[in-house]
């Protein structure tokens, strides 16, 4: 396939950024080193090394089956890598289970909506707030007495415009609302790293801006790392500060959106734009 031909674009730039990051007072850092996973003979993610910086929204693009979601699963701990490591704030978190990585600060919104279907919208968010507050084994008080948790959950629901539906079972929500709830769960965790996996997939046109505005709002806090897997190029173009391209599990391009989108290999192979036209 084409991946063999592609240059590791933006490699030099990455190092430059990495040195910059060390100037501040202990900024957040997330890095994958030679991250690899094999399923039998198939290499789904192939030696991906990439460092993510706070205050920067990195879009991960690539054709279907490129390994984007698998890469996410490796970072958030749903899958264990065959090789390579993941570092959060310089500490190796490769050996941590998914719940411990969440506690370490990795927040994940899933591509296929992944909620507690028969619990109410409010209960869904409350569970995330509760997890963030480390209220795990409190079994002597009724949950109703935890007004603090309930109020925080309600505030988050208002933020994602689901306040009016808090009593409804999650399964009864429209697809768009379920996606919003998915994002609300991640926000409730107050992570250091936000990982959005196609947050607007399957949403109707008028619902998309709600989620995009939320992401844009999150971006204003420059101490966080935001990762976004997305197919829609207009979304990527408007939000991303940096794009990395995965193809057949390999990192094939990395750089500023304009550069990456303009590079002929991306134009032709991944964005479906004929090589002549330049998108900026």
């Amino acid at each position: 396939m084409r991946s063999g031909l592609s240059p590791q674009a933006g490699r030099g730039e990455e190092r430059e950024f990495a040195t910059q990051a060390h100037e501040g007072p202990m900024p957040l850092s997330l890095e994958t080193r030679d991250l690899t996973i094999r399923f039998g003979g198939h290499v789904a993610v192939d030696h991906v090394s990439c460092a993510f910086r706070p205050g920067e929204l990195t879009a991960i693009v690539g054709p279907n089956g490129a390994g984007k979601t698998t890469y996410f699963n490796l970072i958030s701990g749903q899958l264990r890598p065959s090789e390579g490591s993941i570092l959060l704030d310089g500490a190796d978190i490769t050996g941590l289970s998914a719940p411990l990585r969440t506690r370490a600060g990795l927040g994940r919104a899933f591509q296929l909506t992944n909620l507690f279907p028969n619990l109410s919208v409010e209960e869904n968010v409350r569970l995330a707030v509760q997890a963030e507050s480390r209220v795990h084994y409190d079994m002597l008080r009724p949950w109703m007495t935890r007004r603090d948790l309930i109020e925080r959950a309600d505030a988050i629901l208002d933020q994602v415009a689901l306040g009016s539906r808090r009593g409804v079972a999650a399964t009864a929500l429209s697809h768009g609302d379920q996606r919003k709830l998915e994002v609300a769960l991640m926000m409730a965790l107050q992570p250091k790293v936000f990982m959005f996996d196609e947050p607007t997939a399957g949403m109707s046109i008028d619902e998309v801006p709600v989620v995009l505005n939320l992401i844009a709002q999150l971006k204003q806090d420059t101490s966080k790392i935001i990762l976004l897997v997305e197919h829609k190029m207009d979304v990527v173009r408007s939000l991303a500060d940096r794009i990395i391209v995965l193809h057949n599990g390999k990192l094939v391009a990395d750089g500023k959106p304009a550069e990456v989108i303009a590079s002929p290999i991306v134009q032709e192979a991944y964005l479906g734009v004929p090589a002549g036209k330049t998108a900026a």
Binding site: Q78, P99, L100, L127, H136, M139, W143, L149, L185, L189
Partner: protein
Amino acid sequence: MMILSGDPPRSRLLAVLLIVIVAMLVLTPWLFPGAKAMNVAVKICIFAVLVASYDLLLGYTGTVSFAHTMFYGIGSYAVAIALYAMGPSWAAIGTGIVVGLPMAMLLALAIGLFSLRVAAIFFAMITLAVASAFQVLASQMSWLTGGEDGRTFRLPELLRPGTVLIDKSAFGFEINGRTLTYYLVFVVSALLILALLRVVNSPFGRVLQAIRENPFRAEALGYRTVFHLTYANCIAATVAACAGVLNALWLRYVGPDTSLAFSIMLDILLMVVIGGMGTIYGAIIGAGIFIIAQNYLQTLMGAASSAAADAGLPLLPGLLHPDRWLLWLGLLFIASVYFFPTGVVGRLRRPKAGAA
């Protein structure tokens, strides 16, 4: 409201049913002083606890366990062996409790940590194996357990039927040690059920529901689900052992049939399904319906059969013959599971959704 931990019955009919059942249980010694009625009432109390603790596992976490009778048996045997060996004293009862409850809890902890981290079916199989092994062990170690014959023992003076506390002349009815034991069982059962209601409505209980709904997502939120499931398993086992203690105290006997038989496990499963999983209240309803049907259906059918025969109806006397009561009990269960797939409580709580 707080005594119910903010989880009221949420259905008027259910509330009425529960009040009727509880009132009947309170009044049984006055209304139906016969031995059979008292036995049935005690069995309802004990099984309500046993089924409610099983509901914590099956209904709230979605974990299938076949070892619940084993924990019930551990409680029964612990207190029985202590009373048998140490003689009828309160210290013996205390020893039985102090040995039995932690033993049930530790065994549940071991089984949980060993097998809850893998597939649910593996946990079910392990519990089945351990429970079977325990049953064999209990009947083989006859020097300790009395084997298949079990152990008969005496209770402390205060709880014996012969002990008259208040004479019949005072109120028109007698309060004796048996009545006292009855109320002991009733009060402890009520407290245990309220405690379970508290656990399932606590923040911890919500996490259990989250694990039942979507274990993958619960982990992604940062919950280490193995520990939650293991805790739930330990609580369920301890409460089951408490029910076992009450059972032994009431029967003044322990044996494989009354506290370890696999048929008890099947009864628990039926009761939790009939009552409604994941509700706790379903345990009271399920135990009430099941045990009353089990004990009185035959009598009822006998009456119906002879009434039909007297009326000269064809076929009916034969169909309703008391010997066929197990057939009708079976049909009753099939019908209840078919018409109330979410159990009686589930049906009562959502009448409109059912009608639509």
